[in-house]
Symmetry: C2
Subunit: 257 residues, 2 copies
């Protein structure tokens, strides 16, 4: 940053050959969290959710802006005690934001990431015949810490044909990827978190793993699971073990980005 | 934009020689607005407030991200009916965002602007002897439409030594500019909106005019008023017609950007 907090705007000087990635995600009291949870865990999670979007595009975090509405100054300090270490560890320095007093707590974290020009991973590149992979195991419980898959996303640049992060459930997010790519998918299996269920792994949200496609036969990174393949068919339609899988993950109205 | 809505992130390809400006502002139900106001007026205002920060840096809007929490789909459509024409008119295309269902309505608009490298106006360049100016008249009522001073801000690049937008009141915003620049100020007069009061013009917020400094004797743009000058003194201290002026505009806690 040329200039962060202390002016009307933060100033960022782009580097030669970089393309910038932008995402923003809200965490709303009594929708995404309650005050029974620690403020630090909410602060960390608020940033981690946006970092996961940067990971899904193969980006490197550059900075973030934090818009926060709250009233308890101690809570606000704790919120930042959770957010700041993750910001530092991932290179997403807090460059500014907006702080307002409100009774209903709310935060919105915008993250800017960077990728070499034309190299960002997108949802619209899956091709018929590609293999479909996920990182980690799915069906996580809400209170699991999010580990944004930044290194994996960066490693997939130039390898994956498409990528999306699993925030609203495999069935819905894979549906979205297929719609953007104009393809269909067949899933054979899904890696389930210990103690969770296959149904939750298929439809539960908040996993924050990466779902991506690669050409058949290409060597996949370690630690990922091949779950199926991209097929010709009705755009967006997914079959799981031979049966039609309805996209029924989480959707407030529709998800914009 | 290379890619807007429809992926995990929006993608922006920086142009050669540009520096990017980022600002974000919240509008919160029962803090900044009520549902008695039209959703369209709130949508327009939400974007206009952030555009005013871009204006204060001399920037040209490039795109915006809109994070919105609401539950009534008709209200949401009306909100965008207010926001989108202003976005189009100013070049701040909606590139993405986040939409969530919530009972307490809330929006946060992030705007990215652009300025030639090293040319963005800042708060920290005021020098002893500079003249202090404001655009328009101050003490506006809340329901006045905001006209972000984008053209003026761009015209001030290379002319003004410092600039800030008046969002929280002249006394507080001038105090901030003086603190960042390490100077003091003397104010002789303030242009008051018809029907308003001098007290409101000095301390009321939500004017969204530009406050800026220029070297003494430099030709100021048309339509602005010279209100005083930058002086040596206790950093941040302001005198109005010979008396100390306390910064008592609006401050939720402290304002970050």
């Amino acid at each position: 940053m040329v200039r962060g907090i202390g002016d009307d705007c933060a100033i960022y000087r782009p580097r030669a050959g970089e393309e910038l990635l932008f995402t923003t995600d809200q965490m709303i009291e009594d929708v995404h969290f309650t005050r029974a949870q620690t403020a630090a865990s909410i602060g960390e999670r608020a940033l981690a959710r946006s970092l996961s979007d940067i990971a899904a595009m193969g980006g490197e975090p550059r900075f973030c802006l934090v818009a926060l509405a709250a009233s308890d100054t101690r809570w606000i300090e704790d919120f930042y005690r959770g957010l700041l270490p993750l910001a530092k560890r991932t290179g997403a320095a807090v460059a500014g934001g907006d702080l307002a007093r409100a009774e209903k707590y709310h935060c919105d974290v915008m993250v800017c990431g960077s990728a070499p020009r034309g190299k960002a991973l997108r949802r619209d590149g899956a091709r018929v015949g590609d293999s479909i992979f996920v990182s980690g195991r799915l069906g996580k419980l809400w209170d699991r810490r999010i580990q944004p898959r930044l290194a994996l996303g960066q490693n997939l640049r130039g390898l994956a044909t498409s990528c999306i992060d699993l925030s609203d459930g495999l069935s819905l997010d894979l549906h979205r990827l297929c719609v953007e790519s104009g393809v269909a998918a067949e899933i054979d299996r899904v890696p389930v978190t210990r103690g969770s269920t296959e149904d939750r792994a298929l439809h539960g949200g908040e996993d924050y793993e990466l779902l991506f496609t690669m050409p058949e036969g290409a060597a996949a990174p370690r630690g990922v699971t091949r779950i199926g393949r991209v097929v010709r068919g009705v755009t967006g339609e997914i079959h799981f073990q031979g049966r039609l899988l309805e996209p029924r993950g989480y959707d407030h109205f529709r998800k914009q980005s």
